[in-house]
C-alpha cells in the first residue's frame, strides 16, 4: 500500500512512467479560454428555441390542453403535447445502469399524458424563433386541470389509504409481483446470519431513526438538448449527457423508433453527478423539430432544473446495531424508505448494500422500500443511496464507541470490512482498502492535532461506494509523427480524457502529450456505458489499455516488416522496438511511425471491455473539525481531511479533485441543502434559495490517496468518483456532538435545528 497526500507533489510513483504524474489535461486549453463547446453552446443555422410548459399542481388530471392561441402567436413554429408521441410506443423495461425503468413511465415524464404527478411535470413544449416568443407562447397554452389529492411524505405515501399516483403500480418483491396496488414500488431485503442470536449476545444495542431531505446534484450547466429530425427519418441530438448511448437508447425508446435512426453527439458537459443520465429534453426537442422542420434547441431554466429534475430521494432510515463489551459488532438491522418521486426507481438496492458495507456484521437484516409520491422523479446523485444510510450507521457506531469508551478509529479498525468478509447482500469482499483508509486517518497529523477553542469538535466517519465496471470502447490511430489519436466513448466530466490517455500512453511508453484523446459520438465509437458509477478511469481506461496492446502488436509487426525480419525477432521495451539479435536495429515509437507510409496499411487498435464488478469498490474515511456558534447554531467547518483508496491513482490531481468535490458536496448536504416544500410545491427553486456551498463556506480540503490496487485491473485502478460524498454528513454530525453535546439525526443540520437541540439540552440540564 502507498499513500500520497496532496501536500506532497506526487511526481510518478516509481512503478510507472506516465501513471501517477500530473500532465496538463488535453482539453484544458479550450476550457480556460472559453473555446470548449458545451451543450448549451450548440448553435445551428435556422435553429429555433424551445421551452416547456410545466404543471403548477402536485397532482392533477389533465382534462384538456388547448394550444391554438400559442400556435397563432407570430414566431411560433411548433407546439407539442403527449399526443404527438407515436401511439404504438412499447412498455419495455430498459436498463440505464443507475436503475431500470419502464418506458411508459419515462415517456410520461417527458410529456404528461393523462395526469400530472408533480409540480414541474411537463405538459407541452413550444418552439419559436427566439426564446422570448417561446416563453410568451407558454402563457397562451390553456390547460384544464382537475386537482387531485397529493402526497408528499414517504410514510403517508406508504399507507393503504394514500392517494395512488399510478393505477397500474404494484409492489415488486424481488422478481415477484405482489399484485397489491400501492405507492410502494418495490421491497428489497438482504439477510445474513441469525439476527436474534446476534442481538441476544450484545452488551450494547443502539437504535435510532434518521431523516434526510431531498438535495439536488446542482450541476452548473442546465439540462439542454438540440435536435434535428430530418425528413429521411434520421434524428441527431446534441446534448450534455453522462452517456450518449444512454440518450440514444432512451430517446429511441420514448419516440418508438429504432436506435439506428438516432445519432447522439455528446457535447462538453457542465457537471452531472448522476443527474444527467436520464433524458428530459431530447424527445421534446425531437418532436418540435419534426413538426417545424427546423433544428430546435432547449435549455431548461434553472428553476425548472430544480423543480423537474433529479433530486435525491428524501429518506427515512432506522438503524440498530449491537456490539459486545470490546466493541465487536454482533448484529445490525436497518429499515428504510426512499421517496422515489413520481416514478419508481430510487437506489434502494444501493442503500441496502451500503448501509453495513464498511464493517463485518455476522448477523444482519436490511429492508428497503422504493416509494412513489408527488415530487419530481428522483435521479442518481454521486454514490446514490449511500450518504443517508452511512449517516445512520456511522452515527450509531460513534455512540457505541462513546458508550464503551473505545477510540472511534479503534472501534472501526476492530470491525473493518476486509478480504473474505461477507457483506449483508451475501457477496464476499476481495482485496479492499477499508482498513487502510482508517490507518491513514489514525496516522494523520490532523487526527493528533488538538482543537483550540470552545464549541469545537472533531468527527470521523467511514464510507463506501461499490463502483461499476460495464461496457467501454476505445479506438486508436497512429499518426506519422508518432502521436496517436484516441477516440473513446466516455463524456469527460472531470479530466477523464487525460486519465484514459495516460493509461494508453503507459503501455506504449509514450508521453501523455503524444496522445490526442477525443470523445466520440454514437456513430464514431463503440458502445460505451455512461460516465458514472466511478467507472470511466477504470473501464474506459481499460479499453484504452486493450487498444494500446493492439497498437503495440501491430507496430511490432511493422518493425519486423521494416527490418525484413521475422516477427518473432522483434521486441518492445521501454518504448523502443528492438531486434532480438542485431543490437544496431532500434526504433523509437516515433521513428517507426515515420516509416509507416512505406509499410502497408494504417495502424489502428481498438479495445472493448465489459469487466465484472460489484464487490471491490472504494472506501473513504474523513475527518471534520467544526465550530458551533452557540447563539445561532451555525456550524463552521474549520478543517477537513478526506482519505480514499484509489487502487492506483492515474492522475493524482484529478483524484484529489474528485475527493475534494465529493467532500464539499457532502458538506452542503450536511449543513445547507434541502428542498423546501409547501402544499406540494418547491419553495426554493433557485441558487439563491437552494444554497450550495460557496468557496467562502469551506476551507481547503486535505486529501490522502491510499493505493490498494484493484486485483482485476491491468493498472489496479478502482475508480474514485463517488465514495467521498458518503461519510461527510456523518463526520460533521459527530463533530457537532463532540463540540456541543447534541446528536442531530436529520439533514440538513441547519442553524435552527442545531440551536433547538442545544436549547433543549440546556433546558434538560436545569
Amino acid at each position: 500500500m502507498a499513500a500520497t497526500s496532496n501536500s506532497e507533489n506526487g511526481n510518478g510513483n516509481g512503478k510507472y512512467k506516465v501513471i501517477g504524474t500530473r500532465p496538463i489535461r488535453h482539453d484544458g486549453l479550450d476550457k480556460v479560454t472559453g473555446r470548449a463547446v458545451y451543450g448549451i453552446d450548440q448553435n445551428l443555422p435556422g435553429m429555433l428555441y424551445g421551452q416547456t410548459l410545466r404543471s403548477p399542481h402536485p397532482h392533477a388530471r389533465i382534462r384538456s390542453i388547448d394550444t391554438t392561441k400559442a400556435e397563432a402567436l407570430e414566431g411560433v413554429r411548433a407546439v407539442v403535447t403527449a399526443d404527438d408521441f407515436s401511439p404504438a410506443g412499447d412498455d419495455e423495461v430498459i436498463s440505464l445502469v443507475e436503475g431500470v425503468f419502464r418506458l411508459t413511465h419515462m415517456r410520461s415524464n417527458i410529456l404528461a399524458k393523462d395526469k400530472v404527478l408533480y409540480q414541474g411535470h411537463s405538459v407541452a413544449a413550444v418552439a419559436a424563433t427566439n426564446i422570448h416568443i417561446a416563453e410568451e407562447a407558454l402563457r397562451l397554452i390553456e390547460v384544464d386541470y382537475e386537482i387531485l389529492p397529493y402526497v408528499e411524505d414517504v410514510h403517508e405515501a406508504m399507507r393503504e389509504d394514500a392517494p395512488l399516483l399510478h393505477d397500474d403500480l404494484t409492489t415488486e418483491d424481488f422478481g415477484e409481483d405482489t399484485g397489491t396496488k400501492s405507492n410502494i414500488a418495490s421491497h428489497t431485503q438482504f439477510k445474513i446470519g441469525d439476527l436474534e442470536k446476534g442481538f441476544g449476545e450484545s452488551d450494547v444495542i443502539i437504535e435510532h431513526e434518521f431523516k434526510t431531505a431531498s438535495v439536488h446534484q446542482g450541476y452548473i450547466e442546465s439540462h439542454n438538448a438540440t435536435a434535428e429530425w430530418k425528413t429521411d427519418g434520421q434524428l441527431t441530438v446534441w446534448t450534455s449527457t453522462q452517456g450518449a448511448f444512454g440518450v440514444q437508447k432512451q430517446t429511441a425508446g420514448i419516440l418508438g423508433i429504432p436506435v439506428s435512426k438516432v445519432k447522439v453527439v455528446p457535447m462538453e458537459i457542465g457537471g452531472g453527478f448522476g443527474g444527467k443520465i436520464p433524458v428530459y429534453l431530447a424527445p421534446q426537442a425531437a418532436l418540435l423539430s419534426k413538426k417545424s422542420g427546423r433544428p430546435v434547441k432547449i435549455i431548461m431554466t434553472r428553476a425548472d432544473v430544480f423543480k423537474s429534475t433529479g433530486p435525491t430521494p428524501a429518506t427515512y432510515v432506522k438503524v440498530k446495531i449491537g456490539a459486545d463489551k470490546t466493541g465487536k459488532f454482533l448484529a445490525a438491522e436497518a429499515n428504510f424508505a426512499f421517496a422515489a418521486g413520481a416514478f419508481p426507481g430510487s437506489p434502494v438496492w444501493a442503500g441496502a448494500m451500503c448501509v453495513f458495507s464498511c464493517y463485518s456484521f455476522p448477523n444482519a437484516l436490511v429492508d428497503g422500500y422504493d416509494v412513489v409520491l408527488n415530487k419530481p422523479r428522483s435521479a442518481a446523485y454521486r454514490a446514490p443511496g449511500a450518504t443517508p444510510v452511512i449517516l445512520a450507521t456511522e452515527t450509531i457506531v460513534d455512540e457505541i464507541a462513546e458508550k464503551l469508551g473505545v477510540d472511534p478509529i479503534e472501534i472501526r479498525l476492530l470491525n473493518a470490512a476486509q478480504e473474505g468478509v461477507r457483506r449483508v447482500d451475501g457477496v464476499v469482499y476481495p482485496v479492499i482498502g477499508c482498513r487502510e483508509t482508517l490507518e491513514q486517518a489514525k496516522a494523520h497529523e490532523h487526527y493528533r492535532t488538538p482543537l483550540n477553542g470552545p464549541n469545537q469538535g472533531r468527527g470521523i466517519a467511514t464510507g463506501f461506494w461499490v463502483n461499476a465496471g460495464l461496457k467501454s470502447s476505445a479506438t486508436a490511430h497512429v499518426n506519422e509523427d508518432g502521436t496517436v489519436n484516441l477516440v473513446e466513448g466516455s463524456t469527460d466530466i472531470g479530466g477523464s480524457r487525460a486519465s484514459i490517455a495516460m493509461q494508453f500512453a503507459e503501455v506504449l511508453g509514450l508521453p501523455a502529450e503524444a496522445i490526442n484523446p477525443s470523445v466520440g459520438d454514437t456513430s464514431s465509437v463503440g458502445y460505451t456505458e455512461l460516465t458514472g458509477g466511478s467507472r470511466v478511469t477504470f473501464a474506459t481506461g481499460w479499453a484504452a489499455y486493450e487498444a494500446a496492446q493492439e497498437v503495440k502488436r501491430k507496430m511490432m509487426a511493422k518493425a519486423a516488416m521494416y527490418w525484413e525480419a521475422p516477427e518473432e525477432e522483434v521486441r518492445f521495451e521501454d518504448g523502443i522496438f528492438l531486434h532480438a539479435t542485431d543490437a544496431d536495429k532500434k526504433l523509437s515509437f516515433k521513428e517507426l511511425a515515420g516509416h509507416l507510409k512505406d509499410l502497408g496499411g494504417a495502424v489502428v487498435g481498438s479495445g472493448t471491455v465489459d469487466p465484472d464488478y460489484g464487490s471491490g469498490g472504494s472506501f473513504t474515511t474523513c475527518m471534520a473539525d467544526v465550530e458551533v456558534d452557540p447563539d445561532t447554531g451555525k456550524v463552521t467547518i474549520l478543517r477537513f481531511t478526506m482519505i480514499q483508496d484509489a487502487g492506483t491513482a492515474i492522475h493524482p490531481s484529478y483524484v484529489e479533485g474528485q475527493m475534494q468535490g465529493g467532500s464539499v458536496q457532502g458538506i452542503g448536504w450536511a449543513l445547507n441543502e434541502e428542498y423546501f416544500y409547501s402544499e406540494g410545491r418547491m419553495q426554493n427553486a433557485s441558487f439563491l434559495d437552494y444554497r450550495i456551498p460557496t468557496c467562502f463556506d469551506v476551507p481547503m480540503v486535505d486529501t490522502v490517496i491510499v493505493e490498494v490496487p484493484h486485483p482485476g485491473h491491468p493498472f489496479g485502478v478502482r475508480g474514485v468518483g463517488e465514495a467521498s460524498i458518503a461519510p461527510p454528513p456523518a463526520a460533521i454530525a459527530i463533530a457537532i456532538y463532540n463540540a456541543v453535546g447534541v446528536r442531530l439525526r436529520e439533514l440538513p443540520m441547519r442553524p435552527d435545528r442545531v440551536l433547538a437541540a442545544c436549547l433543549e439540552k440546556l433546558a434538560a440540564s436545569h
Partner: protein, 167 residues
C-alpha cells in the same frame, strides 16, 4: 416586443456593433448573436457567476445587464483574457493546478479572479474566498481554484495582458 436598438460598444478591445431588443440581456447577445459562447449561462438570474464579465473595470453578471446598457462601455470577456503571446497567468495556473473538472464555471471564475487581481494584486486566501463567493463551482470543492488564484497573484502579469485590461 419593441423595435430593435442599435448599440455600439467595445468588447475585448475591439469596436462591436449589434442590434438588440430592449428585453435582451447582454449574455443573450454574446451567446446567441455574437457567437461568443465562452461566457456561460448557469442560472440566468444572477446567482452563479458563470456569466461574469468586466464592464469598465467592474465585475458584473452579464445575465443581469440589459444589452442596451453596453452602449459606449468597455467590456472584457473570457475570450479577451489570453493574448496571441500566451495565456493570462490565471489561465496557466488553472491548468497547472487542475482547477477545473467539468470547466463550465471556469470562464466565470477566471474573469472574476482577474477583476480581483486587477485591483488587489496580492490578496490573502480570505480575500480570494470572499471575492469569489459569487461564483459557484459544483465540481472542485474550490480548493484548487483558490490555490491557482493565490499562485497566479505571485506571477508578474505579462504586459500584453495588462495592456488588455487597461483597455
Amino acid at each position: 416586443m419593441g423595435k430593435k436598438l442599435y448599440i455600439n460598444t467595445t468588447i475585448n478591445g475591439e469596436a462591436v456593433e449589434f442590434l438588440c431588443e430592449p428585453r435582451q440581456s447582454l449574455l443573450e447577445i454574446f451567446r446567441d448573436h455574437l457567437g461568443m459562447t465562452g461566457t456561460k449561462e448557469g442560472c440566468n438570474d444572477g446567482n452563479c457567476g458563470a456569466c461574469n464579465v468586466i464592464i469598465d473595470g467592474v465585475l458584473m453578471n452579464s445575465c443581469l445587464i440589459f444589452a442596451v446598457e453596453a452602449q459606449d462601455r468597455k467590456i472584457v470577456t473570457i475570450e479577451g483574457l489570453a493574448s496571441p503571446q500566451g495565456l493570462h497567468p490565471l489561465q496557466q495556473k488553472f491548468l497547472e493546478h487542475a482547477s477545473l473538472q467539468c470547466g463550465i464555471c471556469t470562464p466565470g471564475f477566471l474573469v472574476a479572479a482577474k477583476a480581483l487581481l486587477d485591483q488587489n494584486p496580492d490578496p490573502t486566501e480570505h480575500e480570494v474566498r470572499h471575492w469569489l463567493a459569487g461564483n459557484l463551482c459544483r465540481c472542485t470543492g474550490y480548493d484548487k481554484i483558490v490555490r491557482a488564484v493565490l499562485d497566479a497573484a505571485n506571477v508578474a502579469p505579462n504586459t500584453e495582458t495588462s495592456l488588455q485590461s487597461s483597455n
